[in-house]
């Protein structure tokens, strides 16, 4: 869904700019200006993150974008600090594990809700959807109590378990499985595959674009997750990257230049993930276009 939604507005924009070629100019200029302003707004925080990471501590509160005396001292410090590497690995393990889990289980449940008729199917679907309405802030206390009871505090499983499946992912996958023709599934059934084999060998390869989008969302979501990891972890070794970064410095003095350096480094995996999966998304859209 989300992948499709991001494509649609551009398609519309192309259509509207092509259709009437009359007084477009004024409107077009305004549109460009708005887009430009939007672009600046998006890029500024990233620019400042990079800029701050290259500054000496005394220069951090200067608003100038170009550091007066650029330095890579912060990077050497952060990378040589053993804690950073540990947090990076923690975050990586958690983001990868939750991504794999979501890919498997969101799609399995989404597929079942989409392609099977059984009593209570609609109720199950609504129940899953309704959990989307509950904000994380409301859930952290029950989660915490639960983790305490089961002894999951300060462990990988404790950090991961709330995100192993998501209602959003289930919904996304259900919607995408609607695009898989029933004939494909019935043909496989006649050929003697069992339902799990049909899901894996027939349905899953056909929704790769959706799986790629889901992988990006889940990876990013867990990579940047802050509140829950902060609450469930106690020991510095179990911190995830965002939690660890925020602990740089102390109450009196936040070491912004180090936090920004860590943040800059931590965007790298998200970039990698995006570059890997984005190909599938674009290819998926192209394929869908050819079919239609």
């Amino acid at each position: 869904m989300a992948a499709v939604d991001t494509i649609r507005p551009t398609a519309n924009a192309v259509l509207t700019t092509q259709a009437p070629k009359k007084p477009a100019n004024m409107g077009q200029i305004i549109r460009w200006l708005l887009l430009f302003a939007g672009g600046i707004l998006m890029v500024m925080p990233i620019a400042y993150m990079l800029s701050t990471s290259l500054k000496w501590p005394h220069e951090v509160y200067n608003v100038n974008l170009i550091p007066v005396e650029p330095t890579i001292e912060n990077y050497t410090y952060v990378l040589e600090d053993g804690r950073f590497f540990g947090w990076f690995i923690n975050s990586l393990i958690i983001a990868i594990a939750t991504t794999i889990s979501n890919i498997l289980f969101d799609s399995l449940v989404g597929y079942t809700l989409c392609k099977f008729r059984f009593p209570g199917r609609y109720i199950v679907f609504i129940a899953i959807l309704s959990t989307l309405m509950i904000p994380t802030e409301m859930l952290v206390i029950p989660w915490y109590l639960m983790s305490q009871q089961f002894g999951w505090l300060d462990s990988y499983w404790g950090i991961m378990f709330p995100g192993m499946m998501t209602a959003f992912g289930t919904f996304l996958m259900k919607q995408f499985f609607e695009t898989v023709p029933d004939d494909f599934i019935e043909a496989a059934r006649i050929d003697g595959l069992n339902e799990l084999q049909i899901w894996w060998t027939v349905a899953m390869p056909l929704v790769k674009p959706a799986l790629a989008a889901l992988a990006i969302f889940v990876f990013l979501g867990n990579w940047t997750a802050f509140i829950w990891p902060l609450i469930v972890t106690n020991s510095v070794e179990m911190y995830t990257l965002p939690v660890g970064l925020s602990s740089f410095g102390d109450e009196a003095d936040v070491a912004w230049e180090l936090i920004m350096t860590g943040a800059a480094i931590s965007t790298l995996p998200t970039l990698v993930v995006f570059l890997i999966f984005q190909r599938f998304i674009i290819r998926g859209v192209v394929m869908a276009g050819l079919k239609g």
Partner: protein, 351 residues
Amino acid sequence: MANLTLRNLVKTYDKTEVLHGIDLEVQDGEFVVFVGPSGCGKSTTLRLIAGLEEVSAGTIEIAGRMVNNLEPKHRDIAMVFQNYAIYPHMSVRKNIGFGLRTAKMSKADKEARIDEVAGILDMTDLLERKPNQLSGGQRQRVAIGRAMVRDPAVFLFDEPLSNLDAQLRTQMRLEIKKLHQRVGNTIVFVTHDQVEAMTMADRIVIMKDGYIQQVGTPSEVYHKPANTFVARFIGAPSMNMLPGKSAHGGVDLQIGTRAPVKSSAKAEQSVVLGVRPDDLTPVDDNPLIEGVVTVLEPLGPETLIYVDTAYGEIIAKADGRNPPGVGSTVRLGAAAQNLHVFDAETGVALS
């Protein structure tokens, strides 16, 4: 020996009965075509045979076995779907081989079988391609290959040609017919196109609203339609229907002419006289009906003429070289053996 037997087959969806007791015996190696308008229950019948839907009442036997409670894969059938259902992410070889995935054969045997089927379908060069590199007709052949590879007791086809353009459809029609003559498996083929039915079938099953209207060879359903529905559904353009009254020695049309046709109708019974456009031609003597030519449709060897008559528009056939001109008055008649008589109320044939 009957290879497929349907006995009093009933299908109900949420209290709506869509099939009302289908009885049919299909002989081993026979090519049977189900034809009827959209929504008449053709696909439902096929899906019941395949085991994709559960039977509400009645029985299905395939190769002498009652299969009502068997999974599709245990029924010894294969099915070709309207939109092919070949998998875009697999090569042609994988697609054709898909039907053998669960077969207890060695890998080499499977490969040999795939190559054999590809050879029969003339697709050997295409085996490594992906479906999006194939034309519509080639995709259709892959779908057929996938069904063939298991050598099933019964092939099921659900409107497999309706996504193809007219020319390709004609070609595939012929190919499927040849294929049937070559491999000899029983085929149940569903279509809404009566031309497809007439050209391919050994026997045609004509359905309407969940009932079988008539079962017969193409010649039988064309020359001896069981009722007005079959009479109008088979043959194009449709049979002309002229209301009249049965009389001694024929049928009296309301316009005062008498058609000399034998029927089992009682005297004075309200009947409908049916005559195909092909059989209705301009005549000098004993016309059935006359009217003014409004439109000509030249088909080459012959010309269809649309004639405005006391009964409304009637279609007839004239010579292709010198048809009557538009606006001229024509007198139309037909040979007695080409006239059909139906009960006006029930539509049942009385000939």
